[in-house]
């Protein structure tokens, strides 16, 4: 099982903070496509993805227990 986290604009547009979902074996890119489609959120393509709090490549394969976070362009400071 996996957790997917949304932040900022993505959180607001999806209305979702956290989803528990089975994504083990999928690539980051596949997860992006799923979110883009299921939540009608084409903007996820601009977001970075972090797995367990580290930035991940599109090709990275999700493992069981991984926490996946969508990181829209940051604007702290």
């Amino acid at each position: 099982m996996n957790q997917v986290l949304f932040f900022a604009e993505l959180r607001e547009k999806t209305g979702v903070y956290k989803v528990d979902v089975e994504l083990t074996g999928f690539s980051v890119n596949q997860v992006k496509e799923w979110v883009a489609k299921d939540y009608s959120m084409p903007k996820v393509q601009d977001a970075m993805v972090a797995i367990n709090e580290e930035f991940a490549l599109n090709e990275t394969i999700i493992e069981n227990g991984d926490v996946i976070a969508f990181i829209p362009p940051v604007s702290g400071g």
Partner: protein, 152 residues
């Protein structure tokens, strides 16, 4: 040991951040404080809302601190970022770096805020009279060419 990198829901205390880096080996402390600016490119901000992926943000700030302690030997750093609603002039971020000599305190502090704006998962939402919007780096510049190539 006290945390040197943290996300806070409460107002930030400058002295508290500086105290974390004061030490006998240092002769210089540079501090960067980001405050909520009322006007950006002529448009009035009513207030800001900051959100963070707190656990990852603290981890990334710690990484920045480690980069700095490597690049500027003898430096010590602390960084705190506020989240939630912030009114005009409230403090969003405090960075403090102590070093033996002053030149590197300036360099390391500048590096810290640039890296923070690049890689730490924190977002701000601008609230204006006529709307609101989550700001991403690419969006901050859309109102015109910012001064000196950057916007705080």
């Amino acid at each position: 040991m006290k945390k040197h990198y943290w996300i806070s829901e409460k107002p930030l205390n400058i002295q508290g951040v500086v105290d974390l880096v004061i030490r006998p080996e240092a002769g210089a402390i540079n501090t960067f404080i980001g405050t909520v600016r009322e006007f950006t490119e002529g448009k009035q901000t009513l207030f800001l809302e900051y959100q963070a992926y707190a656990s990852m943000a603290e981890k990334k700030m710690k990484e920045i601190g480690e980069e700095i302690e490597q690049k500027w030997p003898g430096s010590k750093i602390a960084m705190a970022h506020r989240v939630g609603r912030l009114d005009i002039s409230e403090i969003a971020v405090v960075i403090a770096v102590s070093t033996p000599h002053r030149a590197s305190s300036y360099e390391a502090s500048r590096y810290a805020i640039e890296r923070m704006k690049e890689m730490v998962p924190i977002w701000k939402k601008e609230h204006w009279e006529d709307g609101e919007e989550w700001i991403g780096d690419q969006k901050e510049t859309k109102r015109g060419v910012p001064l000196e190539g950057e916007v705080t």
